[in-house]
Amino acid sequence: MNLEKKRKLESFAALALSGLAAVVGLFWLIYILTDVIVNGIGALKISLFLNDPAPAGVEGGGLRNAFVGQLMITFAATLIGVPVGVLGGTFLAEYARGRKIARVISVVSDIMVSVPSIVVGAFVYAVLVRPLHHFSGWAGAFALSIIMIPVVLRTTEDMLSLVPWTLREAAFALGAPYYKVIIQVVYRGAATGILTGILLSIARVAGETAPLLFTSFNNNFFSGNMNGPMASLTVTIFQYAMGPYKSWHSQAWGASFVITLFILCLTIAGRLIIRWRYKR
């Protein structure tokens, strides 16, 4: 076999192998998605959203408490996390632009994004749950917002950096102080980008389970009290899937389907906004 043929064969084999890797990788992921969709749609009933859980082992009941709890905790986390994240990102991209402190904080938040979320849960347990002697929805929201802040902060920083500098100079030339320039010019220019970052960060924390295990804990009854233990979809999925009853398993699939759908919709919305705004 001459050299040229050998090289072509080698190239073909290697590329076929990488194509195979792509097929195998995507196969598993599509398998998981179809499994969630098939099992989840089978478990979707109106009662899943409208009823509270039945006593253990009894058929029927729903997860109304978990849906409401999840929404409240995620919403509270967004309320804490978004303002802090957006303001922090503003500091990095505007007042501290090009300075060492901006780079340091930026790198630290990149690390913070990937810090084990269960450690964050343990941290919040020590500072908010044990001193107050009870689990609470606020503690869960606080734990989620700790995970959320670095995500929002980094996207805000990136999006503000994309606003052309000449735009700010135009505003400076009119005699506007920096804070007015930021609020009225820079934020407007980057609004869609920041919104996308917020959507993606909500998607990120909505699926978190580990930080809620020892903070908002769980609650088998309907509760709108953020000062007491609160049910959340993810913790309920963990409890129900590990439980012994068939009806629990089916409800866990239903809850998984809803939460996956919610997160995928947010992610797709975020991507579409980016594509529409920053056509690349």
């Binding site: 998981i32 632009r97 804070y179």
Partner: protein, 340 residues
């Protein structure tokens, strides 16, 4: 008045300047009333951005403080090397959970990294343009699926498949070999190190693939084209141009996935069985740091027990922080090298 002026100058030094196109130019601060608002706003944003630093230092301090009881009792080396984990007698060691963490993470990376690089090569080099977009989006979406979904799927779908087909098949082939055979001893139940590693691997594939793809895309088209012009095949371009060019980025991405995998809880919590022992067989239940925390934290009935769990969390935090910092170092270096 003079003091206030100096204080004001000091604060403006810190927060107040109009940076001009990357060059730092201190503003000739005009002391009108307006600038107090600006000072306030800059101070607000500075505090907001410092929360990240406060949290990371706060987590470290709290973990050290909470685990000080266990640190005093067991010491560092003794805790890390002891295989005991006995809440009844109150003797705790981290060796079993650290072992479980490393085995699952290492196996997951062995599954995930070649697949992820394969996907990245496929997306950047081989796939026709019509496929590039959809596959890229699919990867991003799959990275967004929460880990608890992977964990539950593992428990209900993958574990039965593993115990019925894959694990007996492995026992009958590789399990018969000398030396390696010990890895596949025992009853295949599906709740074991192997299943957990496979799930963890599947979970980090999209994440690793998207970083690898981004690094591959950093290779300038001109360099690739010149390789093609002297007659290189597609594989030779990937092997000799793209891979060396994106080496740093891929290393960084692999380290980032390693950091993620170390700290992953829910994907493995369902199928690992939380069994504190050094399992020589991959078909044995085991435990990782995260799984013990998730299962035992709210059940810890003595101060020493809780303190030991915090000690585990501290070990995990320090380990993953170091690995993530290393990965960030590689990624920054790659960025600086090629984005010029």
């Amino acid at each position: 008045m003079r003091v206030r002026y100096i204080y004001y100058r000091y604060l403006t030094r810190l927060f107040y300047h109009y940076p001009l196109q990357g060059r730092k130019v201190r503003s000739l601060a005009i002391f009108s009333k307006k600038n107090y608002y600006d000072l306030f706003f800059s101070f607000l944003t500075a505090v907001a951005s410092l929360t990240v630093i406060i949290f990371i230092i706060g987590i470290l301090i709290v973990l050290v403080k909470e685990s000080s009881f266990a640190i005093g009792k067991f010491g560092l080396i003794n805790f890390l090397t002891s295989t005991a984990w006995n809440p009844v007698t109150g003797i705790f060691g981290a060796a079993t959970t650290i072992y479980g963490t490393f085995v699952t993470t290492a196996l997951a990376l062995i599954f995930a990294i070649p697949t992820a690089i394969g996907i990245a090569v496929f997306v950047t080099e081989i796939a026709p343009n019509i496929l590039k977009g959809p596959i890229g989006i699919a990867i991003e979406l799959l990275a967004a699926i929460p880990s608890i979904i992977y964990g539950m799927w593992g428990l209900f779908t993958l574990a039965p498949i593993m115990s019925k087909y894959v694990e007996p098949a492995l026992q009958n082939t590789i399990g018969k070999l000398p030396f390696v055979g010990i890895l596949f001893k025992g009853t295949p139940l599906g709740i074991d190190l192997l299943t957990a590693s496979v799930i963890l691997g599947i979970m980090i594939i999209p994440f690793t693939a998207s970083i690898a793809r981004d690094s591959f895309n950093l290779t300038p088209a001109v360099v690739k084209e010149s390789a093609y012009a002297i007659g290189a095949t597609q594989w030779e371009v990937v092997k000799n141009v793209v891979l060396p060019y994106s080496k740093l980025g891929v290393f960084g991405g692999a380290a980032l996935s390693l950091g993620r995998a170390l700290g992953e809880t829910m994907a493995v919590a369902f199928v690992l069985g939380n069994n504190h022992k050094i399992a020589t067989s991959l078909l044995d239940a085991a435990s990782t740091i995260t799984v013990s925390l998730a299962n035992e934290f709210t059940e810890a009935d003595s101060d020493l027990y809780l303190s030991s769990l915090y000690y585990l969390a501290l070990v995990l935090f320090v380990m993953s922080f170091i690995i993530l910092a290393i990965s960030k170092f590689f990624l920054l270096k790659a960025e600086r090298k090629y984005s010029r």
